[in-house]
């Protein structure tokens, strides 16, 4: 036996952990079905069936619902996931296992990306087939990239929530943040349909900035500079990573 000398392959650990986490979530229809179905259902309703302007609405809402779609898995897999595992003691068990802590985070990010990709593909398909969305290839690809990587700030937010919230209250709390934040950021209906005050308020919300960033690709944004949106998103990420680290250490001291 040669257990000690053999160095563990980090990539392999990441892969295995991601695979098992993904399989676990796929087997939890309570998570996978709503996260996949909600954005698609809303988009089909507001973007295609009841579209007010068939020329631009399907494209605009495909983008905003994709943003809505990708922040869902980020908030839920991190926020609700960690809170529940903490409640079950599974989180502590993993902490004492030889698996590096990074694998835990990487696996959840992979999971988020995986669900994001699934949502994006479904939305693109519906948009292209039923909404007659026509974009240049560079636009399709850039949008997909923005959506996938745009979920990272929300992973940070989710992680913080997961570490602070109790298992029993987490699902309700995350939903209470997720749905109104999506609406107020103009993901459900174009931002300019909202009253002026709410439009001002949207400036504080990260989904609004991610949506504006994506809408720039199709020239449908409100025309604010890219670096503004990027810095707001970066600031949110940093703040919530900081809060998560703080929460993690606080938990240890208990």
């Amino acid at each position: 036996m040669n257990l000690v000398d053999k160095k563990p392959n980090l990539l392999n650990i990441f892969f295995l952990e991601s695979k098992t986490e993904t399989t676990r979530l796929l087997r939890t229809p309570g998570f996978s079905i709503p996260t996949l179905l909600f954005p698609i259902m809303f988009y089909t309703f507001f973007g295609i069936v009841f579209s007010m302007n068939p020329a631009t609405m399907p494209t605009y809402l495909m983008i905003t619902y994709a943003v809505f779609g990708v922040i869902g898995p980020a908030l839920f897999s991190f926020g609700v996931g960690i809170a529940i595992e903490r409640g079950q003691g599974w989180f502590d068990l993993k902490e004492v296992s030889p698996m590096p802590a990074s694998a835990y985070i990487v696996s959840r990010i992979t999971l988020t990306f995986f669900f994001s990709a699934a949502i994006i593909i479904l939305l693109f398909l519906i948009g292209a087939i039923f909404g007659e969305v026509r974009l240049f290839r560079w636009q399709w690809v850039s949008l997909a990239a923005i959506f996938v990587f745009g979920s990272l700030p929300f992973c940070a937010i989710g992680m913080t929530l997961g570490l602070y919230l109790k298992a029993s209250s987490a699902p309700a709390t995350v939903n209470l943040i997720y749905l109104p934040m999506g609406f107020l950021s103009g993901l459900w209906l174009p931002i300019n349909f909202l009253p002026e005050v709410m439009q001002q308020f949207a400036n504080l919300l990260p989904p609004y900035h991610l949506a504006q960033l994506a809408l720039k690709i199709t020239d449908m944004d409100l025309g604010f500079p890219v670096f503004l949106h990027l810095s707001v998103l970066a600031a949110y990420t940093l703040i919530f990573v900081f809060l998560a680290v703080k929460a993690y250490h606080k938990k240890d001291k208990k």
Partner: protein, 630 residues
């Protein structure tokens, strides 16, 4: 499992993104929308062939001419196919809801002018689609058949008539029996005296004339080429036209006639005069009566052998859009009428004197006369007006805003609030260089972008070698090369001429036969003809290459009264043949028509050689034998 996934997932993703639809299903091109080109805030629309902009849009920072006034820099808003707002600067759209934004076009360094108006043409066949292809969006026709005019008079009111120019027409002109206008073979009503005028004008208006055109030559004029209506008839025409609320415009070619016409109350005169320079009293008269002149310098240059379309034909931005027929038209000449060269200088100088005094001059080309083609030749007229000494703004005015001050053509020629967005965007500045009107970047007709038609690509034709075409010993219709030979008359174009072909045995050598052509040339089409055509290409539209042929040879003799015969050579797609007239005798004679003598003939693309009687009406008979390419 893992190894497979690493390959399969990316492949599926790449395939997915390749399958996602793109605009117009057109792959992204280097000149289309690239990530860089969309860095500007507006929806960039550089490549017009991919992205036509219609109905609602903004042209930003463009030099702007509304038909009367000029703005060095303007933003122009088009709403629902009409001009809705012109301002030095319109608000940016960034704060507008995305659903209300419209495409923007960058007009920097460009000039936006109203669609041009050609105030003197004769419109038939493809005239109006040739016109729009060069930014001429309205034609004032000065004699065509009402059947043609009526179709387009209906169309001009339709907003979706966006592929051809709008037409206004005088329909049939008022002239004397045998007068100018009757030489084209059409059987048109004529005026013998003033008592017929009321009925004539009423009939014109019933047939849809937008204004009345008369041809007049004073008894006092030195040059009398055609019979003319008399002074009283012209007077009656002015009164009758005005009674019905129509303008009366008068074709003249000398000062005496022009003066009489204006004194009688005619609204405008057509053609500048070449006999002499205008004098002060005439200038005063024109001002007093607020009369206008349509000088048509282009046709006068052509008649005096001074037309020069070389520059026009040297510019790629023109050549790319000229049809073969148009190029041929631009290369043809009038026969030399022997008019002295100074005559044209008189015409030019008279225009200058009139404009300086404040008389309105309207730009008109008189297309499609020899050397003149619809659309393109209005630009030639603008260049000639510049040569005559008009300022570029005066010239642009004469082809846009000035027309509507006299003719009831609505807002055509203007770009003001609520006028139809019929306009051209020019690369360059026609206020500095009038030939910049030819640098057409984009065209809109009634707010819809018109994609300019490119000239068809030429394909190599079959090369013919010298040899016998038909010795008429066996068959009439079958030829040894080419598609064959057949009867040909103007019935094809709506005329009434008739013809019959027959093979006749030669009395001296019974085995030898010849072709006998009997028929009658009748009035009914502008250019009547009757005879036979030898078709060269596979179908009537396609041509063959005759580069290796130096001449057409045949034997011919005339019937009892027939002394003249014409050989017509048609390029493919052309209705305007090159013509060689031959004199026949009662005896067989050898004829040789050298192809080199037709200096504008493109030998690589000849479609049809016809041997016919033309122009002279009446019965005829001629004999042909041994048709040979040499």
């Amino acid at each position: 499992m893992r190894g497979k996934l690493i390959f399969i997932v990316p492949i599926i993703l790449v395939a997915f993104f390749i399958m996602l639809p793109e605009p117009n299903d057109r792959p992204m091109t280097q000149n289309g929308a690239t990530p860089n080109s969309s860095s500007t805030k507006s929806t960039s629309v550089e490549n017009s062939s991919v992205n036509l902009v219609n109905g609602n849009f903004i042209i930003r920072e463009v030099r702007f001419y509304d038909g009367v006034n000029k703005l060095e820099r303007a933003d122009v808003r088009i709403t629902d196919f009409k001009v809705s707002n012109v301002a030095e600067s319109l608000p940016q759209q960034t704060k507008l809801p995305e659903t209300e934004r419209v495409p923007e076009i960058d007009g920097k360094g460009k000039t936006l002018i109203p669609g041009l108006i050609d105030s003197h043409t004769h419109a038939y066949m493809d005239a109006l689609s040739e016109a729009i292809n060069f930014g001429v969006m309205t034609e004032l026709d000065m004699f065509t058949m009402p059947e043609f005019a009526n179709i387009h008079q209906v169309k001009r009111e339709q907003l979706d008539n966006t592929n051809s120019a709008d037409l206004f027409s005088a329909t049939i002109l008022a002239t004397a029996p045998g007068g100018h206008g009757t030489q084209f073979g059409s059987d048109i009503p004529v005026l013998e005296n003033s008592s017929q005028v009321d009925a004539f004008v009423l009939q014109r208006i019933e047939q849809g004339a937008d204004y009345i055109k008369a041809v007049y030559n004073s008894k006092k004029a030195k040059r009398k080429n055609f019979p003319s209506i008399d002074h009283d008839t012209l007077k009656a025409l002015v009164i009758a036209a005005h009674q019905h609320g129509k303008l009366l415009v008068v074709h003249i070619d000398n000062l005496v006639s022009a003066r009489e016409a204006i004194e009688l109350g005619a609204d405008g005169i057509i053609h500048s005069f070449m006999d002499t320079l205008v004098d002060d009293s005439f200038v005063k008269l024109m001002l007093e009566k607020k009369a206008f002149m349509i000088p048509t310098l282009t046709v006068q240059a052509s008649m005096t052998q001074q037309i020069d379309n070389k520059d026009l034909l040297a510019r790629d931005h023109n050549v790319a859009h000229l049809t073969k027929l148009q190029t041929q038209q631009l290369k043809t000449n009038f026969p030399n009428f022997g008019i002295p060269p100074e005559a044209f200088a008189n015409a030019m100088n008279s225009v200058k004197l009139l404009v300086n005094a404040g008389v309105t001059v309207l730009a008109g080309s008189d297309a499609p006369n020899s050397g003149i083609s619809h659309g393109i030749s209005l630009h030639a007229e603008l260049e000639l007006l510049a040569k005559a000494g008009l300022s570029n703004q005066q010239i642009l005015h004469s082809a846009t805003g000035a027309v509507g001050q006299h003719f009831s053509i609505g807002n055509r020629g203007r770009l003001i609030e609520d006028s139809r967005a019929t306009m051209i965007l020019l690369d360059g500045n026609p206020f500095e260089n009038i030939s910049d009107t030819q640098k057409i970047s984009r065209i809109w007709k009634n707010g819809k972008e018109f994609e300019r038609v490119l000239k068809p690509e030429s394909v190599a034709n079959t090369v013919f070698s010298p040899g016998l075409i038909n010795d008429f010993n066996q068959k009439i219709h079958k030829t040894l090369m080419g598609a064959g030979l057949g009867e040909s008359t103007d019935q094809f174009a709506g005329g009434k001429s008739v013809v019959e072909l027959a093979l006749i045995k030669d009395s001296r050598t019974p085995s030898d036969q010849y072709l006998k052509v009997i028929g009658e040339v009748k009035q009914g089409f502008m250019f009547p003809w009757s005879g036979f055509s030898y078709l060269l290409g596979k179908d009537p539209q396609s041509g063959v290459d005759l580069s290796n042929i130096s001449a057409i040879r045949f034997k011919a003799k005339g019937g009892s009264k027939t002394t003249q015969l014409s050989v017509l050579i048609f390029q493919s797609g052309s209705m305007h043949p090159l013509q060689e007239d031959l004199i026949l005798t009662q005896d067989w004679q050898d004829f040789k028509v050298e192809l080199a003598q037709f200096k504008n003939l493109d030998l690589t693309d000849v479609a049809n050689i016809s041997i016919v009687r033309t122009q002279k009406t009446g019965q005829f008979e001629f004999m042909i034998d041994n048709l040979i390419f040499e």
